[in-house]
Symmetry: C2
Subunit: 328 residues, 2 copies
């Protein structure tokens, strides 16, 4: 592969034809950190862009244990049964995929992994959240060009990954759990405000009652705080991914949210905003990376930090010196 030049046209044709082998190759190209691959990947994406944009893009978050994999397996299977083509991507900057195996995801999503109408791809391991997010955003283009009309992007909720995923989807689903006592489990600070739809999962057997109670209380709290700033009040539902109860209702709310966005014209605006936000955040990230990597900044930084922390240097002066070092 290293010696042979990559034929962009062939890749594009294969992806547009929906070939799983070409989709996999295209994603590998998009995820690659080799400079020559990156250049070709961009050419490929430019070819694919006009064919992308038609999927419902849904982000799904929840702490480990909230049942995300089972939920996606159940939801994805009923979507493919209803005729949809479902792509499952993941943003997990902490993932350490060994040798490109997706065995982990195959085990986690037993039905979808062997479903010919589904394509499950584990998180890229590009290291930084920015790198992982870039690869995932570009993979969405590949999947949409290949005809997948539902894209589910899962995130495990490390660092800022929920914000990042919320910024690449149309609708953001938060899966949570009831817990004994008067608390909800698995809601990270700041995540509730990103959610368009909230589902209390594992509402089955002995837990059903507490899940329903938790969902009522959460709905009450949301109404009280009224955190939504749009015309959409995030609904709170209960479901059991294990028993496949309520999952269809959660999907119906996701569809309703997306339809409302679409009909009001807000979807186009949101996607344009996401594209521009992504562009400029890559510019900013690279600039800040240049700053962090600059030899003089690396040399001076720790000493200036020490003086500022000690109170012998003002932050303004320290900032001026860092900038002077960077510009030198």
């Amino acid at each position: 592969m290293a010696a042979q030049p990559v034929d962009v046209g062939q890749y594009a044709e294969g992806v547009l034809a929906g070939s799983r082998a070409w989709i996999a190759r295209a994603i590998t190209l998009v995820e690659s950190r080799r400079a020559d691959h990156r250049a070709v990947a961009q050419d490929l994406l430019v070819e694919l862009l006009p064919h992308s944009g038609k999927a419902r893009r849904v982000g799904i978050t929840g702490v480990p244990g909230a049942g995300k994999s089972t939920f996606i397996d159940t939801l994805g299977s009923s979507l493919t049964a209803a005729g949809h083509q479902v792509a499952v991507l993941a943003v997990d900057p902490s993932s350490t995929r060994s040798g490109g195996s997706i065995l982990g995801d195959k085990t986690r999503m037993a039905r979808l992994a062997v479903d010919p109408k589904a394509f499950v791809r584990p998180s890229p391991t590009a290291g930084t959240l920015g790198g992982v997010a870039k690869a995932t955003r570009e993979t969405i283009v590949v999947m949409e060009a290949a005809g997948y009309d539902v894209v589910l992007v899962e995130t495990v909720g490390v660092g800022q990954s929920e914000v990042t995923v919320a910024d690449m989807v149309d609708t953001f689903l938060l899966l949570t759990l009831a817990r004994t006592g008067d608390q909800l489990q698995g809601i990270k600070k700041g995540v509730l405000e990103l959610a368009d739809v909230i589902a209390v999962n594992k509402a089955d057997g002995p837990h059903e009652r507490e899940a329903k109670k938790a969902s009522r209380e959460l709905a009450g709290a949301l109404r009280l705080l009224r955190m939504a700033d749009s015309g959409w009040d995030p609904p709170v539902l209960t479901c059991s991914a294990l028993e496949n109860t309520g999952v269809d209702d959660v999907w119906a709310k996701i569809v309703q949210h997306r339809d409302q966005l679409s009909e009001s014209g807000a979807l186009d605006a949101q996607r344009r905003k996401q594209l521009l936000g992504w562009t400029w955040s890559m510019v900013r990230d690279q600039l800040l990376q240049d700053l962090a990597d600059h030899p003089k900044v690396r040399e001076l930084g720790p000493e200036l930090d020490r003086q500022v922390a000690e109170g012998t240097l003002t932050p303004s002066l320290a900032a001026q010196r860092i900038l002077a070092a960077f510009r030198s």
Copy 2:
């Protein structure tokens, strides 16, 4: 003033002696955007830094109408009566002070404005939030060096100003109001999570009952969501700044929060983190300003944005071209 060189030693001496005239001059210097003033201001701050850091720094937010001015007037007056020296600063990037008059603030805080143990300073009008925040942070140093042991920083809640203020204080107070129906008024998205203490104001006369009900419900919602990620669960109180009931209890919670931070050693860590965060955010802001001001970026930016929004150019390629233009 323009022709005469500024004597930093005289300024420092005046501020350290607690002279109101010298404090006012020092703040004017700190707020100035003239390059020569800025250089002198930094020299002055380096002189004052060793004498700063001893105040309780409290941020206060709430939408217009929440009663911030009355609350600060009432709280500040009882603090000065108890022997404290109270500085009241403001971060309001939307303020348009006419000719440097602080008449607005004098009217808003009738008692504090004439209290010899209080110093009320309206928001600097440096334009950007970054500029306003920088001036206010540096004014805190001036006020502390002058012997003020309580610094109240008010913000009206425009854009990101609450986050900015939360990043310069030890304790952040959110003032809110009950509203008929089952909602709380005046809680902006994201602000609840910054709050260390929450007070439902205007709990007086016919509103007392609904204020108490709102505070119980808010406390319940917070318990449910458990948004705190530290050892401190933000208490929810009621008060009437107008009738001066409950304001002392709010202050007692602020003191308790600060004491807990101080005793656990978290206060020092938080302040160091704030100083370093401030330093590097100034560096980043300046870099991004350089980017925005770069002639080639200004020339290319809109066209690249258009192509990205239209879907004819990938964000990655657009970002590469913007960076190439900036580096050229």
